[in-house]
Amino acid sequence: YRGEEEIQKELCALFPSAAVGETQSSVSAAEDLQTYSEREWKGNTTKSLLIRKGYEAIASEFNLRKVRGDNYCALRAVLFQVLSQSKQLPAWLHDSDISKWPKEMHSDQDFITEWQFPFETSKSKVQHLEQCLELLTNKWQEAVQSKSLEERERMCQQVFRGHDEEYELLEALKFLMLRTAVQLHSDMEKGSDVPEFCWLLFARDSSKCPKTFLTNHLRHVGFSGGLEQVEMCLLGYSLQETIRVVRLYKCDTEEFITYYPNDHKNASPLCLLTEDDRHYNVLFMSFRWFQYLLVLSSVVIILIV
């Protein structure tokens, strides 16, 4: 394909071209929540009022970054938060060579033959998953080693362009979910302690075991379906992160802010937003809020001194 791009550039160097509905960034620039809410939810239906109330409740704390709205959006939003917020490589990534995991799984169970990729590949499925996991390791390392916010943002914009690289990272996340599901299911069968969401995950008729979880649910994620809430728990648990979601349609209930998983809350959760548990956007801590924290910490320092 690169050959074709070069040919195109050379051929069209003197022939002006206009893009007709080109793909844009998978994650948009930050915008104000209040403005967004008033623009998108005009009118006075019960629903509009509820959603706007939800937005208003968090508008001073966060800014919004819109995420490309396909069936990968939950994974994409989480991946974006991981790459833009992670302070260090997590222990599980640091301590193992995760690119060895597909082969290990394949020698144990015949799952990977069921895998579906959103792009063509000349490699075997195992090899391609190895490549995806290696890419995830590299990008995560690159992210935490960024020397400035600008550098980090530039790196994220390079990834989130809607090209193969982005989808390889998203498929890597799906693999991690599968591997974790296999481990948890095995623990459950042995009678060991497992997080609460496991019972729900495997209680569904369509996913009583990891194999059916893969064939009926996971391998369709990104294609014909997104992530169910119990699968959001699995995603958070697989990454050893907590995903904190503001669920606007649950405003005025105790589910307005939900943690996936909710039993072990990380000090710095990955913050997402959803209006309907279907489409997820990213919440970025607002600069105003950051300024407020800065002022607060300065005051505390002054008082101590």
């Binding site: 022939f15 002006p16 007709v20 080109e22 793909t23 844009q24």
Partner: protein, 113 residues
């Protein structure tokens, strides 16, 4: 001639097609690398995004667009062409295109330099 049906991809507010066009009655046709006749002021596809709706539908770089949803594209300006393709209320565009083999276009272009 080929009929290409592109299903635009909805991304929030945007409708994605995934290609670029060159040409038009207000443009200089002599620089068009894809046309056989260098006075041809038609609309040509200059780039197709990999994996985008246009590629999936079978559109290729170098295709000449003759019609869009029944509208003639052989005598339009560059901007008129773009507008016909990006109507917000249309989820599908049906193109009539003619296609020369790309190898011919490249070879022809190389011969001219």
């Amino acid at each position: 001639q080929q009929r290409i049906e592109i299903h635009k991809l909805r991304d929030g507010d945007n409708l994605i097609l995934g290609f670029s066009i060159g040409g038009g009655i207000d443009q200089d046709p002599s620089q068009n690398p894809f046309s056989e006749d260098k006075t041809d002021k038609g609309i040509y596809v200059t780039r197709v995004s990999k994996g985008g709706p246009a590629e999936v539908a079978g559109l290729r770089m170098g295709d000449k667009i003759m019609q869009v949803n029944g509208w003639d594209m052989t005598m339009v300006t560059h901007d008129q062409a773009r507008k016909k393709l990006t109507k917000k209320n249309e989820d599908v565009v049906r193109l009539l295109v003619t296609r020369k083999s790309l190898e011919n276009a490249v070879r022809q272009s190389m011969m001219q330099h």
